[in-house]
Symmetry: C2
């Protein structure tokens, strides 16, 4: 590995040019910089040298062009909810905050799509869709910006039915490293016209271009929705229920696993009274008959695997409370160990390996003496552990890191991935060679050099040095 490039101070002529172009929308205030130099990971903040608040694709293009002239890094910023140090200005530079780009450009109910600015959040989009009978399903927990979600190829609880950002972005506008504006993809539902630049930019974490606008698929709000929870005598039986459900092809909308510790955390945080045992959360979407059929099938599968207390929530307010509790799991789990920082794992494996992967991992939690609640999008084979470690306990932090390395190694051995949905950022760069092999990594490096020869787009992320 080469040494990373040194961090240089912001060139004065660039600062002057940004001030001239952006006025009050360019800031070097310490508090602003501090806010933009971190995400929700446990990496120590690394603030940028200044922040541009962009309001249009042209703003982003101008900011990138000015930075490019000085070979100064640019880092796109949405809501700051990423989890792998995606936003840290490891080589300084300018953060471009897109949160002001929060407008709907167009909603087209007849085409089941919408075009939005990249800073719009998923909840804001769904609010804007109110009354159309449509919704945008991708739901990574945090109310992230849609641009950020595309940039990290995010997914979440609904992905088992609706796919990830990869499948749900039809096209996008991005600013490239030289400031040129690229439109990738189209509004056609499918196309074979050349290289899939949209898919290349999705998941590139701002290292190949900055997404400024995107067209996403929408879905009719299902005629019927029902949700349920069901607890199990042990985690293995819960996982076997998931596997059987997926293998039967039940078009389940959500199927989430929480272990007993995560349920404890939720009960404390959300004042719920769930039984503190491994629990599956289900949601079914469809026609009334379809939902009933799905639910019946899954209830039978669960019963075959020792599922108990199958509890239905059909009223919208009950469903919302249930899923709010699930969504609060991250913050609830942090509350289990006050003062602790969380290292969050994100492996994803083929469903046939999920039971083994979780069993080995649970054994490791005990061996490594960690506090590590488990929550997961198990329908996709994806699960998270929140490794809660006291920042001052060097040994505990070291155990958490060693545990995490073993977990990734296990997932890769099982033909999975080190990150199902959080992205690489700084935190998972060390696994890229092991996951992809040197030849694939070299191809990625060649693409990065071709599109960003001066390495100004979010340097120090995704690819190992």
């Amino acid at each position: 590995m080469n040494a990373p490039a040194p961090r240089l101070p912001l060139p004065q002529p660039l600062a002057a040019a940004l001030t001239e172009r952006f006025g009050q929308c360019f800031s070097v205030a310490a508090a602003v910089r501090e806010h933009h130099g971190k995400d929700e990971s446990s990496f120590a903040p690394q603030p940028p040298d200044g922040v541009v608040f962009a309001l249009s694709t042209e703003d982003v293009a101008d900011a990138v062009r000015l930075c490019a002239a000085h070979k100064v890094p640019v880092i796109a910023y949405g809501t700051g909810t990423s989890l792998e140090g995606h936003l840290h200005a490891v080589r300084g530079g300018i953060s471009i905050d897109l949160s002001g780009m929060n407008q709907v450009v167009a909603v087209r109910p007849e085409d089941l799509d919408a075009t939005v600015q990249a800073g719009m959040t998923r909840k804001a989009l769904n609010a804007a869709l109110n009354g159309t009978g449509l919704f945008f399903p991708i739901d990574p927990g945090a109310d992230a910006s849609l641009g950020g979600m595309a940039a990290t190829r995010a997914s979440g609880t609904n992905a088992v039915r609706y796919g990830t950002m990869r499948e749900n972005v039809l096209g996008l506008t991005a600013v490239m490293a030289d400031g040129r504006i690229v439109r990738a993809g189209s509004r056609a539902k499918k196309s074979s016209a050349g290289y899939d630049l949209a898919r290349l930019l999705i998941g590139s974490e701002g290292t190949l271009g900055i997404i400024t606008e995107l067209t996403v698929r929408l879905y009719p709000i299902p005629e019927a929705i029902s949700a349920a929870v069901c607890c199990f005598p042990n985690i293995h039986d819960a996982v076997r229920t998931v596997i059987a459900t997926i293998q039967l092809g039940v078009p389940i909308a959500r199927i989430e696993l929480l272990d007993a510790l995560a349920i404890t955390a939720i009960n404390r945080h959300s004042k719920t009274t769930l039984r503190e045992a491994p629990t599956l959360f289900f949601e079914f979407h469809g026609s009334p008959a379809g939902v009933e059929e799905q639910a019946h099938t899954v209830q039978e599968i669960a019963a075959d695997h020792g599922g108990q207390d199958f509890d239905w929530a059909t009223r919208p307010e009950d469903r919302s409370r249930l899923w709010q509790a699930r969504h609060d799991a991250y913050y609830a789990c942090l509350g289990l160990k006050p003062g602790a920082r969380s290292l969050t794992t994100d492996v994803c494996v083929p469903i046939s390996r999920l039971a083994d992967c979780i069993a080995e991992t649970v054994a490791d939690i005990a061996e490594y003496k960690l506090t590590a609640p488990l929550v997961g999008h198990v329908g996709d084979g994806n699960f998270h552990l929140l490794l809660l470690a006291d920042p001052d306990d060097a040994d505990e932090n070291e155990r958490a890191r060693a545990f995490s390395n073993r977990l990734v190694e296990r997932a890769l051995r099982m033909e999975g991935t080190c990150t199902g949905e959080h992205g690489v950022g700084m935190g998972k760069r060390k696994y890229m060679a092991r996951e992809h092999g040197e030849a694939a990594l070299d191809a990625m490096r060649a693409i990065k050099r071709a599109l960003d020869p001066d390495d100004i787009l979010n340097p120090g992320k995704v690819l190992p040095e």
Copy 2:
């Protein structure tokens, strides 16, 4: 535009090295070369200088490495069923025939996936799945190789429900321009680990790498399937039926439009007795109750739009005959004008524009005095016209070309694409700048140069000079 590179003879040392490495699996016989220098398009054949019959990824890697050493072009060959001159050796070189790489590597029913060699055809895969309860849905009509289908981002009649090759390839193995073997993607259902090389190679038509192996998603064979045909007083009403069906979110598996002329062709070719009017072919997949529900909804929509003679085929043999007739449409339409060559169009537009796009196009057919049956995957907004022109009638050919240009221009104006599923090949390169814009095209060119600096992988395809 620069002048294309000249065609040079095959260097003798390369021929010797290929003979030494591949023995009888390397051929320069005229008949073999001729066979590999064309596809099903109307482009005049351009044979390669020799053909390597590969039996493994290592064979492909060795062939590419030998060619790379001499900067000689390599063109991957599957079944020869592409439609845009994808296989033509415009600068000579070596065709690598992967049709011998036709083995299943693994079927994993528990993960709903299979890994196959790139030369295996979709029908062969489905035959191999016999007894597993699973199937591979992507169905471009021709019994194409799965590698070729991935390389052109193919889709077909089932895409409205199951997506295209883009959504259905989990991972792949490819040989890059320097002969290195890259593995892209994994068997995890989702991943955020770095650049999406798999999606970049899918649709790159052998210009960035040669796909040698792929892991595809499988689906449980639906518990219930039913099919139907319904004819309409005019094409507009048929299209309005499609639009209403999609907008309601009915999870229809297939919804295909054929105009009266295409039906006439099918009746002649397949000895069917379909009423010669604009006709929709439907297929419904799901549980028995779900299929009934979908079919009921669609039948009502069709009736609202003047649909007549709604005719059900629930027995497997009736469904097969129906869909075989649909699949034979291409060859049936060629029979409408014996001796004619077909220029096949492939635009895809947002569904809201489909009725307008087809109406303007139908008017153009009359104005340009063309014989041009229409068949289409209208659920995706994708439709084809077979422009049948006498090869000796220069004026008719010119009218067909002008018509096709106008059609593409119309689709792009409607935010669609020049090719929904056939790919760019040679035939659609001239539209790339108009469809993507120069900035996006320059990004594609930069990627091509980065991954294939000597332009040896299927040169003269996808990107304009």
